[in-house]
């Protein structure tokens, strides 16, 4: 009967899966590269940029800049109306694309964005994604991991390319397999009431640059950005925040999940109590499953944190600037109850044609000082020379 456990059964088919948590081998890298260059169905999306989408998205990355939310304010800005937050544009479509290596977990570990123009309210964005590379890594937390890089391109309704995005998904075996999974110790931070109250006061006091232009001339290399504080992450935030700029042509509940499972039987998790099929994604907000896949606790979605990183820079640069590039790398999970502090500084300043550019480097660190995300961004600032 022991082998029966490893069969994922549907009414007309049964899949013999070696284990619910397979490991990675020397051959895995070839499998991870198999679909390179293929325009994947799962990567296709068409999304209308509506007020509802922007509002819900800004709730997800804790953005309060009225440029994205308040029509009267936005009308007076350089853009003449509400525009979409840059990370929203860059995240149109499916956040995780992990081809091959069935049953090996995929974690979103970063996004690199290049934006070419702003997106206005009412625009319709179309995205397509193709895997472009796979790289094998060896680390302390897991002996072997495979990073899959996918290029996502986003066009508007006029067929103009508005954003290129390279996103990185790390494939790491689930810990329950016992071979090569993540080796995190479980943790959950405990705060005092005074600390809790301080986060509330601190985050409420934060200001965005808004309509005061940040001139290139006034910006100096080495200049520090005003810090931000985000969190604590609640369990319900990991599950019930909306604003995902994806179209669910490929998603949905009940019958839609059944159809997906039939296509991807190895990604099916069988609940030991009910015997019903489910998805290990539940580890984001259920302790038991988080431990099964090897995470130290319930954890945030990678795209949420990437989005917070881009939002930090966009809030700093002001409404007259244009965020041109942002590369985000996630290094460690952000768990439920974790608070993260963002810091950054200007690292470079130069002129290219008519554009006055600065480069900033930012990071997020949690209460233990662990840097769990880093980013580098390039911003076109307004210049007094162009006034």
């Amino acid at each position: 009967m022991a082998e029966k456990k490893n069969v994922v059964e549907f009414k007309n088919q049964a899949y013999q899966v070696e284990t619910q948590a397979p490991g990675l081998t020397d051959e895995s890298i070839n499998e991870a590269k198999k679909l390179i260059g293929v325009d994947l169905r799962v990567g296709r999306a068409t999304v209308e940029v509506t007020k509802d989408l922007i509002r819900n998205y800004c709730n997800m990355n804790d953005c309060v800049n009225p440029l994205y939310l308040d029509e009267n304010y936005a009308r007076k800005s350089k853009w003449g109306g509400i525009i979409a937050p840059p990370p929203l544009v860059g995240q149109i479509g499916n956040a995780i694309i992990d081809t091959g290596l069935r049953g090996v977990h995929g974690y979103q570990v970063g996004e690199d964005w290049h934006w070419y123009q702003v997106v206005e309210l009412g625009d319709v964005l179309v995205s397509r994604s193709k895997p472009i590379d796979a790289i094998e890594h060896h680390g302390k937390t897991a002996p072997r991991m495979i990073e899959q890089i996918t290029k996502r391109q986003i066009w508007n309704q006029r067929g103009e390319l508005v954003c290129d995005c390279w996103f990185h998904v790390m494939r790491i075996p689930r810990a329950s397999g016992g071979k090569g999974g993540l080796s995190y110790e479980p943790r959950l931070h405990n705060w005092t009431d005074a600390e809790m109250n301080k986060f509330m006061t601190d985050s409420a006091a934060e200001k965005v640059r808004g309509c005061t232009p940040r001139y290139w001339e006034d910006t100096k290399v080495g200049q520090e950005m005003e810090p931000i504080v985000v969190g604590p992450l609640r369990n319900v935030d990991t599950a019930f925040i909306g604003g995902k700029p994806a179209s669910y042509d490929n998603g949905g509940s009940f019958v839609y999940t059944l159809l997906r499972r039939r296509e991807h039987p190895a990604d099916t998790y069988v609940d030991p109590v009910t015997g019903a099929q489910d998805h290990p994604h539940r580890g984001h907000y259920e302790e038991y499953l988080a431990r099964q896949i090897g995470m130290p606790g319930r954890y945030d979605g990678g795209p949420t944190r990437n989005s917070i990183m881009a939002r930090y820079v966009a809030d700093w640069m002001g409404d007259d600037a244009f965020l041109q590039k942002c590369w985000v790398t996630l290094r460690r999970p952000r768990l439920v109850a974790d608070v993260v502090w963002g810091n950054g500084k200007v690292t470079k300043k130069w002129i290219e044609g008519n554009d006055h550019l600065v480069e900033v480097e930012t990071f997020l660190a949690n209460q233990d000082g662990e840097k769990n995300a880093v980013s580098r961004a390039v911003v076109i600032l307004p210049s007094q020379a162009n006034l």
């Binding site: 059964e9 509506t50 405990n190 019930f240 998805h279």
Partner: protein, 380 residues
């Protein structure tokens, strides 16, 4: 094991009830999840209840329908206002107990909405679940951009003191169901065989009193299903937006004893321990989704040309994760009223063991009559 949460669960007091009564008839501030019917908001919502009708997702199908384009399922209006009308009584739990809907207009793609919301009544009750409790009857009116009244909902929100419910432990004996291979196969069969009337007109003449509707099956329920529904109906406020709300409503959250962070009560939908502390057997569904799924039974049956006129249901047991809901219904009456050809349905949902998850479900559907001339088949 019951969780010891660091916010005291307040008792239900007479003065708190009197405070709640003061708001009867007063227009309430709302936090809509969505305000516009767009292709995305309709399709994503429909898919989150497992609806497969192309009328809500496929432009081409919508174009050929009598509406000339995509429309929204009637209960999609939950995304405009979730009808949880429960002001005051801080710290007293909210259960979505029942709802009565009346529909007047179709929701088309591109429509935008405003609502008028108030409490219509506050009634004290006794229950097996928690002893003394309060029922808040709400009134939610939905208007489109032309200021037309599109629908009216009358939700009944039960306010149950958590400590009392924990003490009564009404569902103490409930166990999770373990499915056999045969049961799972039968479930898959029902999903594969689900039928919707679609573009083929269901004529009023063809409906028979006593006729059974083809059941629809949803489950086994997973937190992933509930998550998707909430994301597409009314996502939770997070970070600073949550903290602002918390300042005005200090009992809208509890402090998780393990981390001491403010955690939302929505956590009862994810965490068995939290659900148990409020008198529930396990983490479970959100009632709105159950109502919405039951309406899917009716929209599947009536077809693209039918119009849902009235719809209502009571929710009587939590739909716990792992359980499956079978939605069933039958035609109880067929009649003409003011020139409309109507059919009354009785509808209900039960779990895999035949235990009723809903009570007193009903729907009134307007169907097209073979006798109607084309110009009488007017659009709503």
């Amino acid at each position: 094991m019951v969780m010891n949460l660091t916010v005291d669960y307040p008792e239900l007091t007479g003065s708190a009830i009197a405070e709640a009564r003061k708001l009867i008839g007063v227009p309430l501030r709302r936090y809509p999840g969505f305000t516009e019917a767009t292709r995305g908001s309709i399709m994503n919502w429909a898919r989150s209840i497992g609806d497969r009708n192309p009328l809500y997702m496929d432009d081409y199908h919508g174009r050929l329908s009598r509406y000339g384009g995509l429309i929204a399922p009637p209960l999609w209006l939950y995304a405009i206002d979730d009808t949880i009308v429960s002001p005051k009584l801080p710290g007293i739990h909210c259960i979505y107990g029942a709802v009565d809907w009346e529909f007047f207009k179709i929701v088309r793609m591109g429509d935008t909405f405003t609502t008028e919301v108030c409490v219509a009544d506050v009634i004290e009750k006794q229950s097996e679940f928690c002893g003394r409790m309060v029922m808040q009857v709400g009134e939610v009116k939905y208007y489109n951009q032309k200021k037309e009244l599109v629908a009216k909902a009358s939700p009944k929100i039960l306010r149950t003191p958590r400590k009392a419910a924990q003490g009564k432990n009404k569902y103490g004996e409930i166990q999770k169901h373990h499915y056999t291979r045969e049961e799972l196969t039968a479930l898959e069969d029902s999903v594969d065989e689900e039928k919707w009337q679609g573009a083929i007109i269901r004529y009023w003449e063809d409906a028979q009193e006593g006729e059974l509707l083809t059941p629809i099956v949803r489950g086994p329920l997973s937190s992933e299903d509930v998550k998707l529904f909430i994301q597409n109906t009314n996502p939770v406020k997070s970070y600073r937006r949550f903290m602002q709300y918390l300042e005005r409503h200090p009992l809208c959250a509890f402090k998780d004893p393990a981390s001491n962070i403010w955690e939302g009560w929505e956590n009862q939908l994810l965490d068995d321990k939290v659900a148990k502390s409020m008198g529930f057997p396990f983490a479970h569904d959100c009632g709105l989704q159950r109502v919405a799924i039951l309406s899917n039974l009716v929209t599947n049956w009536m077809g693209d040309d039918g119009f849902l006129v009235k719809f209502g249901v009571e929710l009587n047991l939590p739909w716990i994760y792992g359980d499956t809901m079978y939605c069933k219904g039958k035609v109880t009456r067929k009649y003409e009223e003011n020139g409309r050809h109507l059919v009354d349905l009785q509808i209900w949902g039960e779990n895999q063991s035949g235990v009723a998850l809903t009570a007193n479900g009903y729907a009134t559907v307007e169907l097209i009559s073979k006798s109607a001339r084309d110009d009488e088949r007017k659009l709503v």
